[in-house]
Structures are given as C-alpha cells and as structure tokens.
Assembly symmetry: C2
C-alpha cells in the first residue's frame, strides 16, 4: 500500500509517519519508483506498536527506540524483548541506598520475592518502586510489614498465573506480542485499579450501611 | 500546645498552618490570650488528614474542603463520609452518553456490578472510569468482553473482602478513619500495581526462559 493508505488504515497522519521513518522507528518501505514506496502489514503492526508505546505507555521517544530495537533484535528471546518493554514502562525510581529506611524497605521487598519464589532480575525497577512506596508509607505514619504486602502478592500472582499470562500471544509477530503486553500491563492496570475502587465501595456499603435497601 | 509545637509535631510549616486556619480547613485553636491560641490532638489529626489528601490523594483545595466538610458533618454516617473521600480521589471522567461505544461499555460495567452483586451508587465515578477504559481498549483494537473483566473483579473482591476492609479503623476518630482509607486506596493501589509487574516478570521468566538457572 502507499503511504496515504498506510495513514488511513493506521489512523496516523502522513507527517507523523514521515517523522517515524526519518527517526528509524518505522522501517523504510519498498521503493517502487523515485517518489513512491510500498508499505505492508509489518508497517501497520509497527505503527500500532508505536502508538501503544506513546499513547498507552506514555513513553518518551528515546525509550520507544529501545523497545523497537529489542523488537528488531531477533537474537533476543521473547522474554528479554518483553522485559525491555516492561522496564521501559516503569516510572523509574532512583535507588536511595544510603538511607537505612530505604534499605530496610528493600530487604522487605527482596524477602517478599523470595517467599513467593518469584524469578525477578536483581535490577528490576519494580523492586525500587515498591521499596520507595514502603518508605513513603512510613513517612505517613503507617508501618507496613511483610504481612501487609502478602495479600497483594497473592492477588497479583493468582491474576497473572490464571489469566494475564494467557492473554499474551507469544507466537504472534514480535510487534504484536509486545503491543499486547504493553496494553495488558498499562490498560488492565487501570482496569484493576478502578474495579478495586468499586469493590471497596461495595464492601464499605455492605459492612457500614446494611440498612440501605 | 502552641502553634510552633503543632508545626514541629506535624511537620507542617507555621505559614501553611495559618493558611489552613484562614481557609477554615483547620479549626481555630482555643484562644488563651489576644495573641495566643492552644491546639490539641484533634488539630494534629486534622493536619495529618490534610497532608494525606494533598500529598497522597493529590487533591485540589476545593476537593479537600468537601472531604473536610464530610468529616465535620457528624450527621453523615461513616460510609457516606468515606464515600465523599473515595469519590474525591477519582480521576473524574466525563460521561459520553451520546456515543454508542460508550453506552455499550457502560452496560458491560453495570452487568459486571450486577454479576458480582456489588452495592454501588448509580453515580459512582468508577463506573464512568471503567467504561472509558473499555472504550480506549476498543480504539486500541482489542475488544474486551465481560469474561476479560471478571478475573480482575474476582481478584479485587478477594483482596478487599479478606484484607483491605479490615485495615480501616472504623471506630477511630473520623479523621483517622478517612486518612487510613485514603492511604489504603491510593498507596496500596500503587503497591498492587507494582507487585503485579513483579508477578508478570516472574511468570514470563517461568514460562519463556525456563533454561535460566
């Protein structure tokens, strides 16, 4: 298809497509004449992936490039490729290894991971993120223990093992796999957060307002 | 205690305390002389609540005032008071009742709530939020069904019923109850999101990279 049709099918404006081509995020089409190039399904998939990274993941172009490089590097296994996207989606918390509060929180996170026998890279950004949230909870006057975290770990593990992992199309084209993972992580993260608020309202109503018909 | 000690104990600077006093967010102290007022534990609790609403909930002052009014209105039951805080914490999505996509999504949300027999106000903002996320998922080319939502509803219900609802001190002073609820909803929402990413990484490693020692 020509660039105009690629734009129509993807919903991405032609100037934006040309920008992605210049930046190398989108591979060049097949040149059929001096002024004409042909694009295919792979370009459509790539544009969908870029849109997902931009609009769902809200990643800066530099992070998008890293994910795209991982998708293009066929030597990377699917787990490593997904890991690149997964880590890019992290809010990115700086470790504060100097603080004793942070160290204690970080030890709690590592203990949780060990208790659940999870396979997590030592440098996984979610370790830092969770430690930082625990530190913040402390400054708010609550003092979370391991026992306060385990109900969340159990809920997350059940959800991921029984449902989420099965929604990722591992044998689809690499773009499609990464895109599904990004949408799953970010958008269904929002779904879970919202549904949790609904469950909280309902449980509060059930316990505190049983007189309501 | 005097205002200087109130500041030291709460960590809130004196000019900020004076601002809250002028705005009526913090009740006046007991005037002991023309230039001196005494503050007590209730003021400390109120300052903690305001901090939680500001820093954890990131609410604008107008929303904080609504929550404070609900806390001060002893005629409101605890459920209504918590509901005011809960709704204030919502991102606030405008309903798009004109769009057929939105209507279909909204019907799915209502069906989910009915299936789980949840007691949710018809005007609860989380209904709109969830419908909006479903509409966004559609524009991304995925078409979520009720079956895609139920694993999240089950996970959330289990978490709230077996754990979260028991962490709210219902018989504490009203400020303390609301504060615990805000911290629980927002901060443990972050805990859940981060732990879910850890579980995803681990499950991906288990399924896709079993050769790693």
């Amino acid at each position: 298809m020509r660039i105009s049709q690629l734009s129509a099918e993807s919903g991405v404006p032609i100037p934006t497509i040309k920008y992605y081509l210049r930046e190398g995020l989108l591979p060049q089409g097949e040149q059929t004449s001096a002024t004409r190039a042909e694009y295919g399904q792979a370009h459509l998939r790539r544009l969908r992936l870029i849109r997902a990274l931009l609009e769902v993941g809200r990643l800066p172009v530099a992070s998008i490039r890293k994910v795209i490089d991982a998708v293009d590097d066929e030597n990377l296994g699917v787990h490593q490729m997904l890991g690149t996207a997964h880590y890019a989606l992290s809010p990115g918390v700086e470790p504060h290894e100097e603080s004793p509060d942070w160290q204690e929180a970080r030890e709690m996170v590592d203990q949780l991971i060990a208790d659940y026998d999870w396979k997590i890279e030592p440098k996984a950004p979610a370790r830092e993120e969770l430690a930082q949230t625990i530190v913040t909870l402390r400054t708010l006057g609550t003092d979370p223990t391991l026992a306060d975290l385990t109900p969340y770990a159990t809920a997350a593990q059940t959800l991921v093992q029984t449902h989420e992992i099965h929604k990722i199309p591992f044998d689809a084209p690499r773009e499609t796999t990464v895109e599904a993972h990004i949408i799953g992580t970010v958008m269904y993260g929002r779904v879970l957060d919202t549904i949790r608020r609904l469950a909280q309202e309902s449980e509060s109503a059930r316990i505190l307002a049983p007189q309501t018909p």
